[in-house]
């Protein structure tokens, strides 16, 4: 674990050095290939004046809302599918149709139906997250050992008790890996949706921030935005999900 971060730090340093040498050498114009010093200055300045913080806040709040709504919906859909074979057929069909469809493809339609702005972004996020979550949850529910359904019968659990005492905890490894996929997909969908849908009152999220910087040909600003996007992605995947796994499925021996 420790050595993973050491290695990443080492290679990160090497890559930065190559970047900086290329920038200083003057092979490319400063306009299109800014040095790390310029990028870091742009990063600190927009952090200092609060513009970047506001955009980060906007993006994170939208994605949190989207993930929350999608998770609740996915839980309802997959539980319904688990308990009713009729619903299972319908939900399976819906998933088969919608899962391969990239959220971006829906954007023109969403623009016409919902306009631009937060609702539109939320819909793109929910679409990109809901179906992989439904797939993972359904697989998880259907792969719990048969013995658990016998135990539920034997101890006379009702459906609700079976759901929260056995079904959901027993399939938690699938749930968490579904959430990981959901996070990765929604983060990508969010940035592209923000670029397309633009801002309301100057708030449009990180995607909008980068897009705007490009309009003004502020390449250090573009890179500053990209760095923030990368760092948030790493932070969520490495810290939030790792913590969640350590406190649950790893502690319980369900995941090595």
């Amino acid at each position: 674990m420790k050595s993973k971060y050491k290695q990443r730090f080492f290679w990160g340093m090497i890559l930065s050095l190559i970047w900086q040498l290329t920038a200083v050498s003057g092979i490319f114009s400063e306009m299109i290939f800014p040095g790390l010093d310029q990028i870091l200055i742009a990063l600190f300045e927009s952090l200092k004046d609060g513009t970047l913080i506001k955009q980060i806040g906007f993006s994170l709040s939208v994605i949190a809302q989207g993930l929350f709504l999608a998770t609740i919906t996915a839980l309802i859909l997959s539980l319904t599918a688990y308990f009713s074979s009729y619903a299972a057929g319908l939900i399976d069909t819906l998933t088969a149709l919608a899962h391969p469809l990239p959220g971006i493809a829906l954007m023109p339609l969403i623009l016409i139906w919902f306009g631009s702005g937060k609702t539109a972004i939320l819909i793109v996020i929910i679409h990109s997250v809901l179906w992989p979550l439904v797939l993972n949850l359904s697989t998880g529910f259907n792969s719990i050992p048969d013995i658990y359904t016998l135990i539920a019968k034997n101890y006379r659990l009702n459906k609700l008790e079976f759901m929260y005492k056995i079904l959901i905890p027993a399939s938690l490894p699938y749930f968490i890996s579904g959430l990981k996929i959901a996070w990765a997909r929604s983060w990508r969908a969010l940035i592209s949706a923000e670029m397309l849908f633009g801002a309301i009152n100057s708030l449009g999220g990180l995607g909008w921030y980068i897009f705007q910087k490009r309009v003004f040909f502020d390449l250090p600003g573009v890179f500053a935005g990209i760095i923030v996007i990368i760092l948030i992605g790493i932070a969520v995947e490495d810290f939030i999900f790792e913590k969640l796994e350590a406190k649950t499925v790893k502690k319980w021996g369900m995941l090595k």
């Binding site: 050992p145 016998l150 135990i151 019968k153 006379r156």
Partner: protein
């Protein structure tokens, strides 16, 4: 002892693509209250299927399952199953919480409300009975196979069922541990008033544990003999009587 649990002409078959396999054919069996009964037979003789029918996990094709003269339908907390599979414990719960699960289910079934302290106390009592109280805060994956089965046994006891059904519960642990668990089970059965129906293919296990042994054969699954085991408890595995009974059973299987 009067008849307590009764199986009348129980038949069960499974259909595969090509053929119809008769798992149980005309099983008639009377089980007495507080009796320790083993069902002994080779694999495929339908002994587990029979236990599942008694548990109410699967239905008979023909025949009846009666308790005190009344027909039983479906599974219930009066007949709790102890499985062989280590997975029966909930890996996401500590040992004590696994046992509390049964305490709560039993209380709810009897419409009794217990305080959290009472629930904990009961669970702790059963963990002490199986000599696992020190490990109450462990998660199942931190326990050895034998300890997992002790925990599962504690949970089964905690359901306070009149009838305990055991499907080769010690089949996956090493022979040393198996003997310890067998001894523990006999001791628990003598202390608590419960009826135990124990399925096994291990002749020595049947001789060590039970008062009566139901012998089964396969294809089709049928009862071939029912043998009284009058050896006094605690039984000694190396005694002459023990080995005589073992040989008698072996010759019949």
């Amino acid at each position: 002892m009067r008849s307590y649990l009764e199986l009348k002409n129980v038949n069960k078959s499974f259909e595969t693509e090509k053929e119809k396999k008769i798992a149980l054919k005309d099983i008639n069996l009377e089980i007495k209250e507080n009796e320790f009964l083993t069902i002994l037979g080779p694999s495929g003789c339908g002994k587990s299927t029979l236990l599942k029918i008694i548990a109410g996990f699967s239905k008979t094709d023909r025949g009846q399952l009666l308790k005190k003269g009344e027909e039983l339908a479906g599974a219930g907390l009066d007949r709790i199953m102890l499985f062989q599979d280590f997975e029966q414990l909930f890996s996401w719960q500590k040992v004590i919480d696994n046992v509390e699960f049964a305490v709560k289910a039993a209380a709810k079934n009897k419409n009794k409300s217990l305080s959290p302290a009472q629930i904990k106390e009961k669970a702790h009592k059963y963990l002490t009975e199986v000599k696992l109280a020190e490990y109450q805060n462990y998660y199942p994956h931190q326990l050895s196979g034998g300890m997992k089965q002790r925990a599962a046994l504690a949970r089964t006891l905690a359901a306070e069922a009149e009838i305990m059904l055991m499907d080769e519960p010690f089949g996956s642990v090493d022979s040393q541990t198996r003997q310890e668990l067998q001894q523990l089970l006999v001791q628990l059965w003598q202390e608590e008033e419960r009826t135990i129906i124990f399925v096994t293919h291990d002749i020595r296990e049947a001789v060590f544990l039970s008062q009566r042994i139901v012998l089964m054969k396969n294809e089709p699954g049928e009862v071939i003999n029912i043998i009284e085991n009058k050896l006094p408890y605690p039984r000694i595995r190396s005694s002459r009587d023990f080995n005589q009974l073992f040989e008698k059973l072996q010759s019949q299987l």
